[in-house]
């Protein structure tokens, strides 16, 4: 389902660019609306959320899938926590489908998926590691890096149980917008993967915007 946002970027309280291949970490307060904008198209945005006051409670891909009995994320999806609570709700989306089965790329999974010599490349897991190593506020470590959302990524599953990474269905100017239902920490890796079509083999920047109210 496609739902256009009525929010004006001029009234956003936060407008930041996350360059291609970089991490981004920030708190979003309950009631604020958060937009991820795909500036140049076909850019996978690997995203994790944590309860800002208790990061042990975090986004849970399996609980999100379980509660909505559907594999894909879109307008109306409540992003569920490990405690079975809604962390954010997707309220606008002009892309149409987002993934939460594909996980994040890592140097180690590169060796498995592509070739043993594809280890020494930038990867989302390294972005997550970098962000939490430099974050001294929340005491996070590798155990806290869990199964993420891939905004703008297209991972269709067939009735026979097949799963593939397909060309993105995103394009320049596509966005997804969500309302925070609790104070959350957002941790993003703007995916640097060069070995599959999730970024159209050309990672590009994204824009992050936050409004105080929807």
């Amino acid at each position: 389902m496609l739902v256009e946002s009525k929010l004006d970027p001029k009234t956003a309280v936060v407008t930041e660019i996350c360059a291609a291949g970089e991490p981004w970490m920030r708190e979003i307060r309950k009631g604020q609306v958060f937009r991820i904008l795909d500036l140049e198209g076909n850019q996978a945005v690997d995203t994790l959320f944590y309860n800002a006051s208790d990061p042990e409670e975090r986004y849970s891909a399996i609980d999100t899938i379980q509660r909505q009995r559907n594999l894909y994320l879109g307008v109306g999806t409540r992003l569920m926590s490990t405690e079975g609570r809604a962390m954010l709700t997707i309220v606008a989306d002009n892309c149409g489908r987002h993934d939460t089965l594909g996980g994040a790329c890592a140097q180690e999974s590169n060796t498995v998926r592509y070739s043993l010599d594809k280890r020494f490349m930038h990867a989302c897991r390294d972005n997550f590691m970098s962000a939490i190593q430099h974050d001294h506020d929340h005491g996070m470590n590798k155990r806290d890096i869990t199964h993420n959302i891939n905004f703008f990524m297209n991972v269709p599953v067939t009735p026979e149980g097949g799963l593939t990474f397909e060309d993105g269905i995103s394009a320049p100017g596509k966005y997804v917008e969500m309302r925070a239902e609790m104070d959350v920490i957002c941790l993003i890796s703007n995916c640097p993967q060069l070995n599959n079509p999730c970024n159209a083999y050309n990672p590009t920047p994204i824009r992050l915007l936050i409004w105080d109210q929807g």
């Binding site: 042990e56 559907n70 594999l71 994040a104 155990r143 149980g161």
Partner: protein, 270 residues
């Protein structure tokens, strides 16, 4: 007496073989089909939970004794428990949305934690998670020990957390689990539905390719409908399968699996 079991039958009498020389048993090499001396066997009542260390080269047969069982399972590297089963890496590397014979379970470090060497059930869910207390209460009501005594009316999540606590693990160590014996299919729009299996006696054989800390719960799958609470018992049978041979089916299932086995071999300095 040395007991062996074939695909079609599992012995009901189990001989404790710990007196056998470890060196002799380690020479058994897996050919993908279970063959080897049974180490031990246990029946988990419906709703019960269990955990244990499964050494590299051992295997477990899960048998759905009555039909309709569910086994929610989590896996960690026993030596470094921040390394754990990774559902997304497992699915995307093998281009599958479910698990069956030939598939391996990959860790977040690109290694093979386990292999499904035989499977008469055919489909094991790994995307729907585990049933929690809120869903249990909503579907089946809350039942306390005071009234129900030892009937295991407990959620899978609670069972897994109790087992994890035994090994120093907590909520931060929860990750996407496997639901053995539960088949969940999707339609073109991504809508999911549980396809109940009622075939008694189906089994899945899981070989451990690293030293794995395994935690399981026999609580119902989270999609089991209201009013049908009746978790089924599961028999677990351990044997020494040996490490994956060069011609092992799971090792050679895909190039991705071959490379993950190379990563595993490097870890163990094979």
């Amino acid at each position: 007496m040395t007991l062996y079991f074939s695909v079609s039958s599992v012995p009901s009498v189990v001989q404790d073989l710990r007196t056998y020389s470890k060196g002799l048993l380690m020479q058994v090499v897996s050919k993908g089909v279970p063959a080897g001396p049974v180490l031990w066997e246990e029946t988990l009542p419906g709703g019960a939970h269990w955990s244990g260390v499964m050494r590299r080269g051992t295997a477990l047969r899960f048998t759905d004794i009555e039909g309709g069982a569910n086994v929610s399972a989590l896996f960690w590297n026993f030596e470094e428990k921040s390394e754990r089963y990774n559902m997304p890496d497992t699915l995307k590397a093998q281009h599958t949305a479910y698990l069956t014979r030939g598939h391996c379970g990959f860790s977040d470090m690109g290694r093979v934690m386990f292999s499904i060497v035989d499977d008469s059930a055919g489909w094991h869910d790994t995307v729907c998670g585990v049933i929690d207390d809120a869903t249990m209460t909503e579907r089946f009501g809350a039942k306390r020990f005071q009234e129900n005594r030892n009937a295991m009316h407990r959620s899978g999540r609670e069972g897994l957390l109790k087992e994890m606590g035994r090994w120093g693990l907590g909520k931060r160590d929860l990750h996407a689990n496997v639901n053995f014996f539960s088949k969940v299919v999707t339609d073109a729009g991504g809508n999911l539905s549980l396809q109940p299996s009622r075939t008694p006696g189906v089994h899945v054989d899981v070989r451990f390719d690293m030293d794995v800390l395994l935690a399981v719960s026999c609580a119902p799958h989270p999609f089991v409908e209201q009013g049908t609470y009746g978790p089924k018992p599961v028999k677990i049978t351990a044997w020494r399968a040996g490490i994956a041979a060069a011609d092992d089916h799971c090792r050679n299932f895909r190039g991705e699996n071959q490379r993950a086995f190379i990563n595993t071999a490097r870890y163990f300095a094979d």
